[in-house]
Structure formats: C-alpha cells, structure tokens
Symmetry: C2
Subunit: 243 residues, 2 copies
Amino acid sequence: MDRSMGNKSLLKTAEAEKISHLDYFKIAISVDCVILGYEQQELKVLLIKSDLKEFSNLYSLLGDLVNPDEDLDAASYRILRERTGLDDIFLQQVHTFGTINRHPSGRVITTAYFALLDINNVKLKINNNHLHWHPVNDIKKMAFDHKTILDTCLHRLREQVMEHPVVFNLLPEKFSLRELQELYEAILNTELDRRNFRKKMAIKDWLHDLDEMEVDVPHRPGKLYKLKTVLRKKSGQKKVEKV
Amino acid sequence: MDRSMGNKSLLKTAEAEKISHLDYFKIAISVDCVILGYEQQELKVLLIKSDLKEFSNLYSLLGDLVNPDEDLDAASYRILRERTGLDDIFLQQVHTFGTINRHPSGRVITTAYFALLDINNVKLKINNNHLHWHPVNDIKKMAFDHKTILDTCLHRLREQVMEHPVVFNLLPEKFSLRELQELYEAILNTELDRRNFRKKMAIKDWLHDLDEMEVDVPHRPGKLYKLKTVLRKKSGQKKVEKV
DNA sequence: TCAAAAGTGTTGACTTTACACCCATGA
DNA sequence: TCATGGGTGTAAAGTCAACACTTTTGA
C-alpha cells in the first residue's frame, strides 16, 4: 500500500501518514472459519445460530472481528480455540469478501479460512446458540454471505484434496483405506473405484502401514494406516507443479 | 462474522451491534496490486518508489486504502484505472496479508490482487515517483512485505497458466504461437518444446486462427491467432476438475 | 544462398480407467 | 453358511516427453 499518488515525492514519516489517514479507519475486519469435520460418512460444518435480528433463524459460520493487536491468522486460530478447544489444527486462508453491504451492522470485510479437524476430538466449548455440526450438503440459506463463503471454501478444499495430504486432518490418527476412501467420496461427492484409489494412495506414498487391524467391525478387518509424520502440518501451503 | 459467543441468545439489532463494536474500527484495509505486463520477452511489474522515509529508495506495489463506501474489488480496479488508465482488465484476488507490523503507519491489512494487461496499451498516468515497469526477475528487496506479496502472486499465476486462459491478457489481441510460447516461458521460467506446446494449445482449443500472417519479421512469418471471444474475461474464476 | 523461425508426427514411457474374482472375518 | 467388505492385476486408452527434418521468408 502506498498512497503516494499525485504528491511530488515529499517523503513522509509513517507517523505523519498515520494521522492523515484516520478517516480510513472506519472499516472493521473479521475472520470467518469454515470449520469442517467428518462423521457418519458426511462432511459437516460447525455452525451457530445468528444472533442478529436481521438473520433470525439462519445459521452463520463462526467468526469474530480481528483485534487491532492481533495477526489476521491468529484471529482465525483464536476462533477455533474458543469454539472447539483445539489448538493444533489445519487451517488455510481462502478468500476475502469485501462488498459494501455484506454485513448489516456496517462495513465489515471478512477473510475466510477453512479448518479441518477430527470431529471426535472436539468437545464443543459453549453449547448455546445452537452451536452444532451441520451436514454441508444440507444447507440452503445462511446468514450474511456465509453460503457463498462456505461454497468457496469447499471448492478450494476439493481442488486440493488429491494433490495435497490435507484431508487426514479430518480422520482419527489411525484409519483404514475404506474409511479414507469414504472420506474422499464425501468431499468430492462422487464414487471412486476401490482398486484405483488404493493404487493412487500407494503411489502418493503418504501413508504409513501400522501393521494393525481394525477391531469391532462386522466383517473382515482392514489394515490400519496413519499419515506419514513428515507430512503432518498445521497450515497448508502449496507447491508449484512443474509443467 | 458473528460475535455471539457467550451471550445467551438475546437477539440484537445490527444497529445496536454496530455501536458496541466501535472499538474495532481501528484497522485500515488496503489493496495492493501486482500489475503485470510483458515486454521484450520479460515479465514486468509496475512499481513506484515508496514515499515513506522508512522505505526510502525501495519500490512498492501500487495500492491504496479501501474507502469505507467502496467494494474491496472496486478498490483494486480503481488503483488500476488511476495508474494505467485501463478499465477492462483481468484482475484476481490472491491473498490477504495481515500481520500486525507489516505497515509502519499502523495496523493495515492488505488484500493482494494481480492484474494482467497488455503493456503496449498503457500510458502510465502520472509519471512521478519513479512509476515504472520493472522486470520481475530482477527484484530483491521491496518496501513493506511487498516482495512476499509479489512472490505469492507470481506463484498463483504460475499455477493457473496452463489450466486457464489468462495469460492472453498480457498480449496484444493478435499474436503468433511463437510469441505465446515465449510468454509462457517467461512466466514459468523454463523452456518448452515447440511441437509439444503447439499440440497442447491445439487440444485446449483456446485459439482462433485469424488467417493472417505476421508482418515485418525478419524471417518466415507465422500465423496470427487471437483468444476465442467466449474465453475473454475480466476476472478469473476457477473450476473444479473432475477426479 | 544464408539465417531464422515456421510448421509438422512418431515412438516409448507413463498414467488413468474400467473391470471381477477369491479371501477373511463376524454373525 | 452367509453377508460384508478386504485385498489384488491386467488390458486398453489416453496423455506426456523426447526428438529432426523440410519449408518459407527476408536480408
């Protein structure tokens, strides 16, 4: 950012600039988190009932204003921690939504993140306002522009899922290949061929064979795997592919 | 965004909420544009000398604070228009940078966009502050966190270039396959095989054969093409690929 | 006639898809 | 013994990478 346009290269100090810009500190910024979990072969998102009259009976994502002394990313981690009690979580920034009238309280620009977590690790912190896990395929209308935000984040997730080992954040540490495949199918909303899926996973070399078996399944138990330790990471970064 | 945490589902009006949030309107938001052009087989970015003492002699991207009554995207189009006089330009949001101390004047969160334009169409509007086109491969240090922003945008551009018909925004309307290939090579920083490149373009079916030839080249002239009209677009949106 | 780039196909390696059978386990 | 999913291989189609020669034009 550089507001130098039209002034004739007079150097200003940052402090002087600050004063001349007070007018602009009239926009609030928030973060909104698409917190995703996976349960009963369904992808679910953590929602809360909006407490604004304008949106009564609609659900919204979890978000909050960013504090002036808080990094943007830190704000999203704070939301997660406050709501789920979890701290070491996969989180990725997706897009910033900034139309003028997206928030009825005033000018609020929001940066959307998605988070992936193991739903069984979560004890929801405060259980009022209908905080709950909601199947993502079962959402028509939301408060604010949150439906758009949700869709944008799901789109991004789908783009990444085959290239980057991210979805493992949705599973318990140990899982079978069937569970993993079902998760992919839930995310991509499609069916996958079992043999081809297993081949693909073998090629990616993401998994570590635990030499353990499923227990308490009503059929032949499958092998258990975990994500290779080197691939675990808290936030996603992408690599450029060679063309 | 929903600040309902911990309150016992008392509905508030947006107006009431606005008042209680005044404290938070202490963050400014800006947009920064990585404005890219292509000239002499080089990718270039439009830079200006920073007018902050803290960054004297460093260049910065073109950006500005977002006005309270201006959409975020509109702000980036405004920057472009002010600096280049161009209006109908490819522009894409990339990432929002929000660490506390990234701007010495105070808390400024910035959303980065990249723009692609035909450098020959541009008459730079105000030519002070060393506004100029700078080869992207020749930049080490920039004001603020602008080097990171630039790198992030270039990374995103490289990711998109083979999947989406975006780079055509950098070329004149009519171009030869050689020119197009040289552009791809400049963006990707690599050499491409001519035959394979032409095959790939043929498969993508992005180009319309104009039945015209290059003129004034000191060798056998090549055919001229233009991007198919249906594929022209001002801002980029991605599609999910089927897996 | 020379220099420069245009234009063009094939082969081998690899990747992706489609598809079916026997096996191990728990009920 | 039955139901359920585990586990596995192959062939055909398609994609990708490497590679060289002839043609056209302007100088």
